[in-house]
């Protein structure tokens, strides 16, 4: 890094307030070892207030409160109020569990700008949801609270092999709940979703059908709702520009205060990431080894370094390179120029076989499973 390519500010601050969560999504993006972070290891209110202040002083302006389930933290309102006072645009990413009438009003009074309501918990919740039972009632109540408080109605549903064939019903439900934006994002294969990848990766036929139906709904519904459909990158031949570049705009702070360039980066070997308890956010962002390691292109594999497209995707995702090629500096194997691209093709090929994904049961995220997998 030279002084001239000093990165811009961390425009996006993601505050992962807690890993605690009442749900058990099989595609959960929390690290598999999340249970190592106990409630008493979480950053306290003072700690989060300091992070909010320091990051804002650097120029952070979008602030996301996520988890786990951020509503589990009873100081959420205090943190939102401070973020609002500092001039952030504040986003809450929630499953809606715990968003009571009172808390919704308190969050509104604190200045919360936006709630993204997610549909989670793969099978059970989805089934409930599709059959209008308990979960649907909960979502309907929460959706009502979101509307009454004047927030935009933004819904997110993680799509995968087990629910993708219900895409039309999912869109119908979202419309019924009054969603203005609906994100149908295919699961990304990290953390728990990586463990469940064979069960979650849809077939090509499923994907094409879902995209076709989504397009039909778009044409039919017009301006009423904006629907985003995100295909799994395994079906692409170029990787995504992960996090818009390592240490470029995103700063994640995990529940215990570890600062990361993205919420899964802790898995990468040979890299240490600073903790906001020990280092100021400015020093973390500009000077720490963890944030500087994959900035620029000096670290790139020869394949990427010589590639005319390297500015477009910056070689893809470091975590995916590590998971699939065993080397965080490798070309993301999603890219068809990667020497390890076959790994992705094999996973995709398996997804086309009849009975794919049924060989093993889904592994649900919960603290017990976490302790078993990462003692």
């Amino acid at each position: 890094m030279t002084a001239t390519d000093r990165p811009g500010p961390p425009l996006w601050l993601l505050a992962e307030l807690t890993y605690r969560c009442p749900l058990h999504c099989a595609f959960c993006y929390n690290p598999v070892d999340f249970a190592r972070t106990r409630a008493e290891d979480e950053l306290d209110t003072e700690g989060w207030l300091r992070v909010l202040n320091e990051a804002r002083a650097l120029g952070s302006v979008q602030c996301g409160f996520s988890g786990g389930e951020p509503l589990v933290r009873d100081d959420l309102e205090i943190l939102v109020a401070e973020a609002h006072r500092l001039g952030y645009y504040t986003n809450l990413l929630t499953s809606g569990v715990g968003l009571t009438e009172d808390r919704a009003e308190a969050l509104k009074a604190a200045g919360l700008d936006h709630i993204q309501l997610s549909f989670q918990d793969t099978t059970k919740e989805l089934n409930d949801f599709l059959s209008h039972t308990r979960t649907f009632d909960l979502k309907q109540q929460v959706a009502g609270r979101i509307k009454r408080n004047g927030w935009p109605m933004v819904m997110n549903c993680v799509i995968h092999r087990l629910n993708i064939d219900h895409i039309g019903q999912i869109i119908d439900m979202a419309v019924e709940l009054g969603a203005e934006y609906l994100e149908l994002a295919n699961s990304q294969y990290y953390a728990w979703a990586k463990l469940n990848r064979d069960q979650l990766l849809p077939s090509r036929e499923q994907l094409e059908r879902a995209e076709r139906i989504t397009n039909e709904y778009r044409a039919k519904l017009g301006d009423k709702i904006r629907i985003f459909f995100v295909v799994p990158d395994y079906y692409e031949n170029r990787p995504k520009k992960c996090m818009n570049g390592w240490g470029n705009v995103f700063l994640t702070v995990t529940p215990d205060g570890t600062a990361l360039p993205c919420h899964t980066a802790k898995m990468l070997p040979g890299l240490s990431f600073p903790n906001v308890r020990e280092m100021g956010v400015g020093e973390i962002w500009y000077d720490s080894e963890g944030f500087n390691r994959y900035r620029g292109d000096g670290w790139m594999s020869d394949t990427c370094k010589a590639c005319p497209e390297k500015e477009k995707d910056l070689g893809g995702c470091r975590c995916q390179a590590f998971m699939l090629a065993g080397d965080p500096a490798a070309t993301d194997p999603v890219c068809d120029k990667s020497p390890q691209h076959q790994v992705v093709l094999d996973a995709v090929a398996r997804a086309q076989l009849p009975g794919a994904g049924t060989a093993a049961p889904l592994l649900f995220r919960d603290p017990k499973a976490s302790r078993r997998l990462a003692p």
């Binding site: 500010p9 425009l11 120029g59 302006v61 645009y89 986003n91 004047g150 935009p152 934006y181």
Partner: protein, 89 residues
């Protein structure tokens, strides 16, 4: 597409603010941000539902001692409506 009866106004779910670190006006919305160039910012600042397009153009021309801004303003507003930054009242 816009008629002179329209009074453009920033949409409810968008917020415009000056960002010191970026030395720019930005438009904030759910999980997103657009950095505005100076002329876009001057137009959007005046989209408060109180004036129609001819009044908006006239005010800009007065403030910046310029003429012939109408085409640029209308083109920007068309784009901004498409992006839903702006609605009409």
């Amino acid at each position: 597409m816009n008629t002179d009866a329209d009074h453009p106004r920033l949409s409810a779910h968008f917020r415009m603010q000056w960002e010191e670190a970026q030395q720019a006006w930005v438009l904030l919305y759910p999980e997103g941000m657009v950095k505005l160039n100076a002329s876009a910012a001057e137009i959007l600042k005046r989209c408060d539902g109180s004036r129609d397009v001819p009044a908006l153009v006239a005010e800009l021309e007065r403030t910046f001692e310029a003429t012939g801004l109408e085409a640029e303003v209308r083109a920007f507003l068309d784009m901004a409506r498409q992006q839903r930054w702006v609605a009409d009242t």
